[in-house]
């Protein structure tokens, strides 16, 4: 009898825990990553090459037309020479296009595309209406702090940017 009751107790606990675990909001449980969590993507060249100077910006941050412009002009990349071996460059562009904001593969991408002209091809994520809206409470002086550098340095405030996590809880604005 005692064992029977204990058994019921264990089963109930397991049941409650699993129901909770699956019903709690979790970016990854939503499949594509959700509004603040980028899908986990793997491309060795993108990760290796794009992260040498800045974080490897997610393909979902810009539309395909933007990535084509950007990857076609790497020897004048925001004033720096970031030229690549042509095969590696082509591989990265293919990956960026397949997962771009307008590729329909992520919730974050859909948000970026909202309010963007169909023909727009911005070169900077920070020029998009989505970015401006998301950061409207950040003062100009904060962006230019030495510890931040510029708005391109996502990881200065988004502690988990390298892992694709951009939720408010992981934001710490440095002094």
């Amino acid at each position: 009898m005692n064992y029977f009751l204990r058994g019921i107790g264990v089963l109930t606990t397991v049941g409650v825990v699993s129901v909770l675990a699956f019903s709690l909001p979790s970016g990854e449980a939503r499949g594509d990553g959700g509004d603040y969590v980028l899908p986990r993507l793997k491309n060795k060249n993108w990760q290796q090459e794009c992260s040498s100077c800045h974080i490897a910006y997610a393909p979902a941050f810009l539309p395909r037309a933007s990535w084509r412009r950007l990857m076609g002009d790497l020897d004048r990349h925001f004033g720096e020479n970031a030229s690549l071996d042509p095969a590696i460059q082509a591989d990265i562009l293919k990956f960026l296009e397949a997962n771009a904001a307008d590729s329909g593969t992520s919730q974050m991408g859909r948000r970026v595309m909202q309010g963007m002209d169909a023909k727009a091809a911005p070169l900077r994520l920070t020029e998009t209406r989505w970015f401006a809206h998301k950061h409207d409470e950040v003062r100009p002086a904060t962006w230019s702090r030495k510890s931040v550098g510029s708005a391109a340095n996502c990881a200065a405030c988004h502690q988990k940017a390298e892992q694709g996590l951009f939720d408010d809880d992981s934001v710490r604005i440095p002094k």
Partner: protein, 137 residues
């Protein structure tokens, strides 16, 4: 069975030597650049390498730019990219991975010489540069 082990061992030896061939050292790269420049390794100059690293050139917005702008005055220290990302130290004494991958070395000489000097670096300059850095303690 024995034969299979023997062939397997041979294949592994082959792979091991292929890996050994691919890995460069600062010394092997200096030798390669000296040969490309048509000079003996002994003609490379650490003093010229040091000067190449530190000399200012006119950069964007008329701001002076040199290798040290991003890699700092001391190449045993970590530097910072324009976006604020850490650059691991350039001197092999502080970072053993430096100058062990010929393709990577060529990629960064191509990019950074263009950015700092507005031209490619010569084979002799590359040799001088590595020679100086490999002496920095």
């Amino acid at each position: 069975m024995t034969k299979r082990f023997f062939l397997g061992g041979l294949a592994m030896l082959g792979m091991a030597s292929a890996v050994a061939l691919a890995a460069e050292t600062p010394a092997s790269l200096m030798a390669r650049y000296a040969q490309e420049a048509g000079i003996p390794v002994s003609a490379l100059s650490a003093a010229r390498g040091d000067a190449l690293y530190r000399t200012d050139h006119p950069g964007r917005n008329a701001q002076p730019v040199s290798c040290a702008s991003c890699h700092t005055k001391s190449p045993t220290q970590p530097g910072q990219t324009r976006v604020g990302k850490r650059i691991e130290p350039l001197a092999p004494a502080a970072n053993r991975e430096r100058f062990t991958d010929a393709a990577k070395v060529e990629k960064w000489f191509r990019r950074n010489c263009q950015d700092v000097l507005q031209r490619e670096c010569s084979a002799q300059e590359k040799g001088d540069f590595i020679f100086w850095l490999s002496q920095v303690k």
